[in-house]
């Protein structure tokens, strides 16, 4: 069995010569912690059965970027809404499709997920004002032109053409014309939604009589739990819960005042910026890497 190994060496050398900046070492596989919705979306999209035990868990999107940016041999994944310029990490194509708003919205980019929301049950908000303001916010977030613009600016993929100006929607929500600075919207759930959600809440605030908000994002699995589930009356109770995926069957949202999807997000695989040889990976390749079958960059494509 000497011949094959010799050939391997030669091919490796060749690759190095042709694409100077390709990583050749063992792949360092980075993944998010197990409560992350991004991880769930990613694993589902690539059809991963079992994650390699050598994977390194990081605790946030930012942490992921930092780690991948500082490690030539790294592979990871992040939200498309991340600002990759100057970050040291580059997003790559999935199944030959460039990740972009268009490809996400038209469905051709496969690795995408919805940002879903769910509110508490009607009548379970403690006060009518609270319920009214939540309803107004949800309307703003999901339907208004202004809301969608903000979400888009913060990286969410939305279809602006289906939106209605807030000035019209507002008529259904007289609550926004009063001083609401004593009301607080408490959110929970996915951390991935944090950026779009924060932007929307901030924009909503001056339009809705200075309503206050507390953003308490901990992970998709808490979104339902804290609004309708077992924790809805606990220390961690929230008014609106979010998940960076669709709510599961066991997460029954039928009793909610409102629930649905407010934008789409794409997960992109990322590699170190110096690893320019890699520009596209298929679901199969990614699954191979993440399951540990493909151990080295040199093994890719064989």
């Amino acid at each position: 069995g000497t011949t094959p190994s010799e050939t391997t060496e030669t091919t490796t050398e060749e690759t190095v010569e042709t694409t100077e900046s390709a990583a050749t070492g063992n792949i360092f596989v980075y993944t998010r912690d197990s409560s992350s919705g991004t991880r769930e979306a990613f694993e589902k999209a690539i059809g991963l059965e079992e994650l390699t035990a050598d994977a390194i868990e990081v605790s946030s999107n930012g942490d992921m970027i930092t780690k991948v940016a500082s490690d030539v041999n790294a592979i990871g994944y992040a939200s498309l809404s991340t600002d990759f310029s100057n970050s040291g990490a580059t997003p790559i194509n999935f199944e030959g499709v460039v990740p972009s708003s268009e490809t996400v919205l038209d469905g051709s980019y496969g690795m995408q997920r919805p940002f879903s929301y769910v509110t508490r049950a009607s009548g379970d908000f403690g006060s009518d004002d609270k319920e009214a303001i939540i309803a107004a916010f949800v309307d703003f977030l999901v339907n208004s032109t202004e809301g969608l613009q903000v979400v888009q600016a913060a990286g969410g993929e939305v279809d602006l053409s289906k939106s209605t100006p807030w000035a019209e929607l507002k008529k259904n929500h007289p609550i926004v014309d009063q001083d609401n600075s004593s009301l607080t919207i408490v959110t929970a759930g996915s951390t991935s939604v944090e950026k779009t959600l924060t932007a929307a809440l901030e924009a909503f605030q001056p339009m809705a009589g200075n309503v206050q908000f507390t953003i308490n994002q901990t992970g998709s699995s808490d979104g339902h739990k804290r609004t309708l589930g077992e924790e809805k009356d606990s220390v961690n109770a929230a008014d609106i819960g979010f998940a960076s995926r669709n709510f599961k069957d066991e997460e029954d949202v039928s009793s909610a005042l409102s629930s649905g999807v407010y934008c789409l997000d794409a997960v992109v695989a990322i590699v170190n910026a110096e690893n320019t040889a890699i520009t596209d990976l298929t679901a199969e390749e990614l699954a191979g890497i993440y399951s540990g079958e493909i151990k080295s960059w040199a093994d890719l494509g064989k």
């Binding site: 912690d33 197990s34 409560s35 035990a53 780690k67 500082s70 992970g219 699995s221 924790e231 220390v235």
Partner: protein
Amino acid sequence: MLINAEKVKRNKAIDKAARMFFLAMALLSSSFIVILVLFIFMKGISPFLPNYQYGTVNLIDFLFGMTYRQDQKLYGVGFIVINTLISSFAALLISLPISVLTALFIVKIAPKQLSGLMQAVVELLASIPSIVYGVFAAGVLTDFVKWLASLFNVTTAGGSSLLAVILLLAIMIFPTITSMAITAIGAVDRDLEHASLALGATETQTNFKVVLISAKSGIFAGAILGLGRAFGEATAVSMVAGNKLYGPTFSLFDITKTLTSTMLAGLKETTGLDYDIRFSVGIVLLVVIFGSNWLLNLVKQKVGNM
């Protein structure tokens, strides 16, 4: 006559009440340890009980398991304990000699001004919050480790590694051990030094052969304290540990996982098994700390008797 019978009686009552108050407060203070252990134990034991709502974990698997994967519901802290022991003891191994020599320098060798300055340095290091150490480690130590690894042609996970943890802990326990050693060395009877000098030993011989040996029990106490700190350090360590899913980790450049970083890693969960299991890990941490303290104190008594 100055005595006012009524006042005296009142004074006496106050005296008695004060005494009771002081006793009550002392009892309260000391009972916290009992409360603490009791509650954490109660909570931490629940995942192993048969009627646990989120699906029972096997105690043996938990204690001796070599994989900790929440996604697969595998909770084994065996390797984490080993990792914790390795990183803490290695940190101690690095820090102890440096600390002791620094203490010797401060107490016996340095000129007065310099000694005061060095003491201030040690105190300052001792009072730096661990989160600052963490920021420093994540920004500097990881780069150092990456550079070192590149010398050996090893790639690291962005510098997060066992080595980074060890270096970080060594730095963090340095002021603890040093200040204990300063006290111990300062307390060495001047008579002993004089006796040594009168026998024609040089100052340096005296310092190394008599002073250090006489201070050994105090130095040992410092080492125990430092080790305890290394075991319990959480925030800073979790910033450079990486998060290895299985182990134990023996390679310096490989990522690792310690008991404390495990407790902080699942932080975002606030209910369920992943939450409760943290208390179980907490118990294990306490056992590791108290156990090693107890063991080292035994050793210390043996050494101290010599």
